[in-house]
Point group: C2
Chain length 345, copies 2
């Protein structure tokens, strides 16, 4: 995998995309370092207020003139009742107590998606990528009219087809190995947890737009395997969480660097949507307790995660990681990319 | 992947192993066809009585002089109580009723493992492979003294190391994509469901014995990817279930040939051990009901599966399948192997 339709589409040297991880990992420094090294940096703007997002975009542009993207979360309707909310708040009580915090306030999460789209247009980012669904037709139209390249996310063949039909220029095909949120938006999460060895060739047989493989890929071995299976680019998340330029908490980086392939689980307890991370007490003790959907559960647990970070207590943080933590390294972003390209790059 | 340590170890032309699927799929015709085509056929003897196993071995030898193997299940202690058994029998009542069958009889499953080992020694099979654990030291010693090559199964790095330490000559590294039983024997099943993209390179970094990749591999793309990730051989299950020589029920073959990558789940309700297969009513309706461990649950549900087969009712059969059913074909075993080798073989 060297020059592909993905390098051409994104105007980059090597088909390596840094995943748009939300929650502070994707600092302007990380994005710029990846893009400067010939890869493609992505701002994980899913959780960001539109103004903060625009400010980050401007900061990236100060640090690099190379292309980069912004990742947004496609919103879905909230169906929870007041009673659900009460129960979900009650479920978190023991954690507030243990961390010596005040109890939760009722979560509010008005969607900022359309404002984020406006922000991306205003700041003329070259690429916008989407997770949790295919964006509405009006969004696709306005972004395309502005000459912005669009990338979707799929976890099944059917989702890949929906992305192609919606006009995405390329699609990230996310295997079950991937850390962080599952992109599944059309079907059961457990059935859509498909390993890349299975998922890539089956998707490749059904769509024409370029495939970007995501999930467990950390080095040249994974890049070559993804290429053999039909991908024209790769997207790395965990491999960039532990690099020097990443905004991840030091204890999060440390936990990944110490972890094994059998330390992760998929859980909805942090955000309301299934995501893969290192197992810890919060995940274990929340089992069977009431949770809300995304983004309400995310709002509800945010104070706990923040306080746990302050206390450097990894038992109550969301330690997102894919299934290849043994391959994670404490290096620079450029070094991750150099290792991928190999001597023949 | 062409000539590797696996082809050398097993004395075969191409490093393609037909998985030792228990339950009647691995007919002498299938095993012989695979071995005659230059691959490596395996008798899935896990559930077999020693006499039937020996008879099958003799039948294979009539049909081919090429090497083949026998797969055995390493037994574990049963910890269920009489009360557990009563509850598990009761849980199956609605299915017996719907299929118009008599109720279950108390299951008995004395382990036949040591007799199977004796049988393999008596019939001088060239290779014995193991699932569900590392075989006891005395078994390893006696088989090795007889010049028999030993292959283990691992689903994590730790399990691969245990196989290497126990003296296995090679190890099947089973990804979460794989159909049928999970080989996990050291840790939680959910955490040990690791996609091959993650699992193979991490195992390759830790062991020296040759790796045989298993899970979702159906064609040359998968074979090349496995090779890039560090494997020296591949093991195919589902790809051989649907071939003409396979002993799988026609309705099972048909169900796989119609299925998509998002149709499988991992369930313990059929055998007492987690296994991947196509979702159906038995799996759905048994959710939350009492089950026993392997092999008791397997004995308990066998009459239901047999009766469902007789009625051609796939809703109550175990339709084992990996996550790549879209790549399954209704061809001969030799054609599967020819497709793998490719024009450069």
């Amino acid at each position: 995998m060297n020059k592909t339709r993905v390098t051409e589409l994104l105007g980059i040297e090597v088909p390596v995309i840094q995943a748009g991880m939300a929650g502070g990992v994707t600092t302007p420094e990380l994005i710029a370092a990846v893009s400067e090294a010939g890869g493609f940096g992505t701002l994980g703007a899913g959780y960001m207020e539109p103004e903060a997002m625009k400010e980050s975009i401007r900061e990236v542009k100060k640090q690099t003139s190379s292309p980069f993207g912004v990742n947004l979360f496609v919103p879905e309707e909230d169906k929870s009742t007041d009673n659900d909310t009460e129960e979900a708040m009650e479920a978190l009580h023991p954690f507030h107590e243990e961390l010596e915090m005040k109890d939760a306030v009722r979560p509010e999460s008005p969607s900022v998606f359309y404002e984020q789209v406006e922000g991306a247009l205003a700041e003329t980012v070259p690429v916008v990528s989407f997770t949790f669904g295919v964006p509405p037709e009006d969004v696709v139209t306005s972004l395309k009219q502005a000459g912005i390249t669009l990338i979707g996310t799929a976890t099944t063949v059917e989702e890949a087809l929906l992305n192609e039909e919606a006009g995405m220029d390329a699609v990230v095909v996310q295997g079950s190995e991937a850390g962080g949120h599952r992109g599944t938006f059309n079907g059961r999460f457990d059935k859509a947890a498909i390993g890349l060895m299975s998922l890539l060739p089956q998707v490749a047989d059904h769509i024409s737009i370029p495939i970007i493989a995501a999930g467990g890929i950390m080095d040249k071995r994974g890049m070559d395997a993804a290429s053999a299976l039909g991908a024209e680019g790769i997207q790395l998340g965990t491999a960039f969480v532990t690099v020097k330029e990443s905004g991840a908490e030091a204890v999060h980086k440390g936990a990944i660097l110490k972890a094994t392939e059998a330390d992760t689980v998929v859980t909805s307890v942090f955000s309301g949507k299934p995501a893969r991370g290192l197992d810890n007490r919060f995940i274990q003790e929340m089992e069977g307790r009431k949770t809300l959907g995304y983004p309400l559960q995310n709002s509800l647990t945010k104070p706990i995660r923040k306080e746990a970070e302050r206390q450097q207590n990894t038992e109550f943080m969301s330690l997102w990681s894919g299934q290849s933590p043994r391959l994670a390294q404490d290096v620079s972003a450029a070094e991750v990319i150099r290792n991928l390209i190999g001597p023949w790059g």
